[in-house]
């Protein structure tokens, strides 16, 4: 991991507008943004650590704690809201015992609330590990969560 990170820093050094791509690719490597990595990015880009931290915290994409094994994004776009996305939240909360923005204590699931996945005509939807599940009901979601969590 460390090696990949160093290669990344070397690749983007001196490139115009490199801060956000660096943060994104660092997160790809580690699964989140470790503090030390942000310090090194600051060093390479010639900015202060606080500037880098300021940019990272501005964008919803960046995380500062490790992610769970599976990432579930519950869509809260307008169409999903109208079609009952908040009931899905209830199901997730009951099933996994966490509120959006958190990771289960066993590290299996990270649950996030997202603004819109753009699959509105299949609302309500959730995305689990990059795969979109649509036309959900609470019952269906419960089964999907069980299936994904079971596939270890």
């Amino acid at each position: 991991m460390e090696q990949a990170f160093q290669a990344l820093l070397a690749e983007w050094k001196g490139v115009k507008g490199n801060v956000i791509p660096l943060l994104q690719k660092t997160q790809d490597i580690f699964g989140y943004l470790p503090q030390d990595a942000m310090r090194e990015i600051a060093h390479v880009t010639g900015k202060t650590s606080s500037e880098i931290y300021g940019v990272a915290t501005f964008y919803a994409q960046f995380r500062f704690t490790p992610m769970g094994k599976h990432v579930m994004k519950v869509c809260h776009g307008t169409a999903c809201h109208v079609q009952g996305a908040d009931s899905l939240d209830t199901v997730v909360e009951q099933r996994l015992g966490v509120l959006p923005g958190n990771t289960t204590s066993d590290g299996e699931f990270t649950v996030e609330k997202v603004a819109c996945l753009g699959c509105c005509s299949l609302a309500p939807v959730v995305m689990i590990d990059g795969e979109v599940y649509g036309r959900l009901t609470g019952d269906k979601l419960g089964k999907i969560v069980a299936a994904v969590g079971g596939a270890k």
């Binding site: 964008y59 819109c116 753009g118 299949l122």
Partner: protein
Amino acid sequence: MSGRTTVAVGMSSCGIAAGSRVVFDTLKKAIAQGGLNAEVVATGCVGACHAEPLVEVRESDGRAFLYGNIDEAKALSIVQKHLTAGTPVVELLIPADYPYMAKQKRIVLSNCGVIDPESLEQYQARDGYEALKKVLTSMTPEAVIEQIKTSGLRGRGGAGFPTGMKWTFARGAKSTTGKKFIICNADEGDPGAFMDRSVLEGDPHAVLEGMLICAYAIGSDEGYMYVRAEYPLAIKRLQIALRQMEEVNLMGDSIMGTGFSFHLHIKEGAGAFVCGEETALMGSIEGKRGMPRLRPPFPAERGLWDSPSNINNVETYANVPHIILMGGAQYAKIGTEKSKGTKVFALAGKIKRGGMIEVPMGISLREIIFDIGGGIQNDKKFKAVQMGGPSGGCVPESLADVLVDYDSLTATGAIMGSGGMVVMDESTCMVDVARYFLSFIQTESCGKCTFCRIGTKRMLEILTRITEGRGEEKDVAELEELAAKIKISSLCGLGQTAPNPVLTTLRYFRSEYDDHIRNKRCTAKKCKALIRFQVKADACTGCMVCAKVCPTKAAHGERKKVHEINQATCVRCGLCFEACRFKAIEITTGAQAFSDEKAALTLPVSGKD
């Protein structure tokens, strides 16, 4: 491809979510096993998302058969009956005169669902890059801009600024850095909108061709495509398209040997709604926090890295090649006097046939919702349509005959917006919708302007209180006062339009606000704190399904005996209501639900946002 049958499977994000990958694999396997002379290809989204997964069989003689709602079994039956025996499976076909398609006019979407978006040859076979060739070999930059002006094209991102004029400014601007940039805004952030995603996934080359033409017109040699990270497939297809272009000299130095050079970078957004605002977007490309800045100077004068920049939306660029090929005057014949051409909409919500549609400007909302969309799901009563996302508003049923053009829609208090159209029925609570949008805005406000940052917070608190049955008489006046102040004291479009969802719902659905405040009643039976789920003793069969699905064990009872719902532990998720096959669960609100004051006060509070 002649002599061979093509089987096209819609493989955009929504198609895949509906299960098209399984269908694709099944078809491929069955065709190979049967040794059939047919090729399975992946296409973008044809737009009929409600009927996904979609499969189109194109015979070698040019006839096409579109199948909808296909699963594994149905795919096998298409292979057996249609591909092997030669008889189309009539019961699975989407009829040729399908009303969903009849009233559409597809220019931007003309290739979507038709070509393989990962094939440059297929794009070129449908006049792809002909417009670019025409521009580079026979037109001056001024002549290009003149055509765009004649076409009357206005920005499709929502604001509707005339594109030709924008290009003129960028062309005329003096650069102090020696550079000019062009940017494509594909940071489609409005919840309920997926037009740009579908276009990028279904026809990425059209957008890139439009950008090249723009670059030539304004004299730029470098550009950025800013796509939101939530669209991985769109990003992947753009990268493929870009590589293909580089291979055949459609991108890079001296394109087509003409001396015109252009380089494009694809930038992934990092999840900030405000980056859809042009100055914030440029800040984000530069690697800063995406916060809007004061205009002027406008981007055309001083934009990205202090250089003159032209920024347009995906759909705007996608229109450009078509305008060049058909001529600005021909394009201007479509639409109304002040709104020319077509508009792509993402039709979603409580609609029977949702999906991506493209209609001529000047069509009425009613035609879109009832003729194209087929009306409301379960034949419920149509209440309103939300347009323009968080910056837009709700157009009520009584105004459904309004025409789709920039000015008529603005007059209703909504906006054309980028194209999100979320249909709402009698089970949608308009106060809750207003609260939903405010909660979105509150999360996404960049925090630069005090009124947007704190004013929207205060508005959200009031709305939350109202939906929780703790509204007061003075609340509506306070909402209006805050709305007016936020509008005039915010720097960017996001803040200036933030109160719109509240103002339009207040304007058209005031009685719902009053009902929540005075009678603790939510007529749509949506606001959790104001409703109760109850078992109707005469209808309950004691089948135990509600008890099984209830996540908190609030619904309980013995087999074959009338069940009960414990109001103290019920979280109002509605799962029992959905699951009950005997309609034995009813939702009550207002005085009917809370006969005694105490019950209303012990309710769980929903404000998780």
